[in-house]
């Protein structure tokens, strides 16, 4: 697993030396670090086999993650991602208010949604603290593993 201190060290190294791109990978991990040319906004991607990583081939059609492609200029907030495959429900019942909506404050134990799989409704916790900035999935829609559901501004 990637050590965050090591990553910091790498970025510092890049800044000091004015590098634009750094790509490290081995059996277990991949690290790609890019710095602005003059115009591209600061973008740091770091992680094991990551998210939108450097996908050589088009993402699979269909249900594939709307996650990808953060607009270059826009600040990208962390997301609460689905830990499973199933159907997303924003509220505890058809006529009930949603668990959270834009502006809601959440803590690690706040239930943010239900995901139904095999007739079982699983309560999903925020597992982070902050404010809901965006709801990315509509109630009743399917979600896949790792799909971002809420954007959270950390507190």
């Amino acid at each position: 697993m990637i050590d965050i201190r090591k990553l910091k060290e790498l970025v510092r190294l890049m800044v000091e030396n004015d590098l634009t791109e750094l790509d490290i990978r081995d059996e277990q991990e991949t690290v790609t670090v890019k710095r602005p040319g003059l115009h591209v906004a600061p973008q740091v991607v770091a992680a094991p086999m990551m998210a939108a990583a450097p996908v050589a081939h088009a993402a699979p059609a269909a249900a594939a993650a709307p996650a990808a492609a953060p607009a270059a200029a826009k600040e990208v907030l962390p997301a609460i991602e689905s830990p499973m495959v199933g159907t997303f429900y924003a509220a505890p019942g058809p006529d009930k208010a949603p668990f959270v909506s834009v502006g809601s404050k959440v803590g690690p134990d706040t239930t943010v949604c239900l995901i139904e799989a095999m007739k079982i409704f699983n309560e999903i916790k925020a597992e982070t603290s902050g404010t809901v900035e965006e709801v990315l999935v509509k109630s009743g829609q399917p979600v896949e593993f790792g799909q971002p559901m809420y954007r959270i501004r950390p507190s």
């Binding site: 699979p60 059609a61 269909a62 799989a117 095999m118 896949e144 593993f145």
Partner: protein, 455 residues
């Protein structure tokens, strides 16, 4: 017929199922792990659903996630491919209980033929030739000693739940037998949670002979003749061919028919392979039954013209088999080489990483089943097979000649593969004359190593 099939697998077999489904006008949904994100076969599916992280226990082996993916994608059937959950009777049962057709046998038939002891009992009943040995799992060690003396040493101790060489011990005398039973039990308990073992006659020199069968839900069962898979390394098949060279036609007919009878007696629907060892006198001994499509099914397709995966899908949907036994004829000879991303110079260590060059062979009689291509990054999480090169020709000699040409054309880099090993084996006299047994590849590799060590 099904409207949409979910494929609970990855790589070349996922692509194989997609191709068969598409040719039937059926939509496909692939599940995939994050390690397989961007996998080339996913492009060919109508939908792809991420079910978890790279390690299989968190994705391809997670039954509830696969069922959930089938639910959200509105699939009506699930094809398990090979490996992963394909021989898991519980999975087949959950599919059925959740309202999805499992493209394979019923959980009952799978359990019956998948368990070595119950399978052997059934085989004895219908006349499929089996190894002499114990009837049941061994309860009493003295009984085992008695049986071993009857069948004659060497014998082999095997775990009933075993596979891949684990839980197996060869015994050449009584002392070895007593020790072997103990250690095999311990190993099997650790590996499979089931310490039951049984003993069988052990063959020093044998060829691997397996019969492809397929049954439907109407009680029909046929065989599609046999394959020879004697080219192995550490119990892993490297080269498979059909038909098995030089086998007496009458003996062959009899053993193939007995295999079809075995699956018929189990009320088995779907594709199954009945594996045998064949000794120097062409006597057959059943090893086990694989209750799924096999990696090497293409060689049988080439000589019979029957699309086995298409047939699997059709019979799962309730249709009767598209062929009768009398329609099935052998046409020519086919050979398959498994192309694994392994480094033969480093003990066949698996090679993950980016494929930069991928230039495939082609032409008359050449078939390639592969999900790989230039730009594909092989993830480190799964097995190392990146494709299967299959050739067909009117005779075995012509098939070998075509395989040599095709192997000569195939370029994959910088990842190391088994292509150079296959080139060597195609020139090997034991392979060419079919004077091989299941240990010849290992012997060849050892001899090479020894020669290298000598300098």
């Amino acid at each position: 017929m099904f409207k949409r099939i979910l494929i609970a697998n990855r790589g070349e077999i996922a692509l194989r199922v997609i191709r068969a489904a598409k040719s039937l006008g059926i939509e496909t949904v692939c599940v995939y792990s994050t390690a397989d994100k961007g996998g080339p076969w996913l492009e060919q599916a109508d939908q792809a659903v991420c079910i978890g992280p790279g390690p299989s226990p968190q994705s391809y082996l997670r039954i509830e996630r696969i069922i959930a993916a089938a639910e959200v994608s509105h699939a009506d059937a699930i094809h398990p491919g090979y490996g992963f959950l394909s021989e898991n009777a519980h999975f087949a049962e959950v599919c059925r209980d959740s309202g999805f057709e499992f493209i394979g046998p019923s959980p009952e038939a799978m359990a019956l033929l998948g368990d070595k002891v119950s399978c052997k009992k059934m085989a004895r009943k219908v006349g499929t030739p089996v190894f002499p040995g114990t009837e049941d799992a061994i309860e009493d060690i003295e009984e085992a000693v008695k049986v071993a003396a009857e069948v004659g040493y060497p014998v082999i101790v095997k775990a009933t739940a075993g596979g891949g060489g684990r839980g197996m011990r060869v015994a050449r005398d009584e002392a070895q037998l007593r020790a072997g039973i103990e250690s095999a039990r311990q190993e099997a308990t650790a590996a499979f949670g089931n310490g039951a073992v049984y003993i069988e006659k052990f063959l020093e020199h044998a060829r691997h002979f397996e019969v492809q069968t397929i049954g439907d839900k109407h009680g029909n069962a046929v065989h599609l003749f046999e394959r020879d898979c004697s080219s192995q390394r550490r119990h892993q098949k490297l080269i498979e061919e059909a038909p098995s060279p030089g086998v007496d036609p009458e003996k062959r007919k009899k053993v193939c028919e007995s295999a079809a009878a075995l699956i018929a007696s189990a009320k088995y629907s779907g594709a199954a392979t009945v594996e045998f060892l064949m000794d120097g006198k062409q006597t057959f001994y059943m090893l086990e039954v694989n209750t799924r499509v096999q990696v090497e099914h293409p060689v049988t397709e080439m000589i019979t013209g029957i699309d086995i995966v298409r047939e699997q899908i059709m019979v799962a949907s309730g249709k009767p088999l598209s062929v009768k036994q009398s329609d099935i004829k052998v046409n020519g000879h086919a050979i398959e080489c498994r192309i694994n991303a392994e480094d033969p110079d480093r003990g066949f260590m698996p090679q993950a990483g980016l494929i930069e060059t991928f230039s495939a062979p082609g032409g008359l009689g050449v078939r390639l089943d592969s999900h790989a291509r230039a730009g594909y990054r092989i993830p480190p999480n799964y097995d190392s097979m990146i494709g299967k090169l299959i050739v067909h020709g009117p005779t075995r000699d012509i098939a070998i000649a075509r395989m040599k040409v095709a192997l000569g054309e195939f370029r994959i880099g910088p990842v190391k593969t088994t292509i150079p090993l296959h080139r060597k084996l195609m020139d090997n006299p034991d392979f060419n004359n079919a004077t091989f047994d299941i240990h010849y590849v290992e012997r060849l590799l050892k001899a090479e190593e020894a020669a290298k060590a000598k300098g």
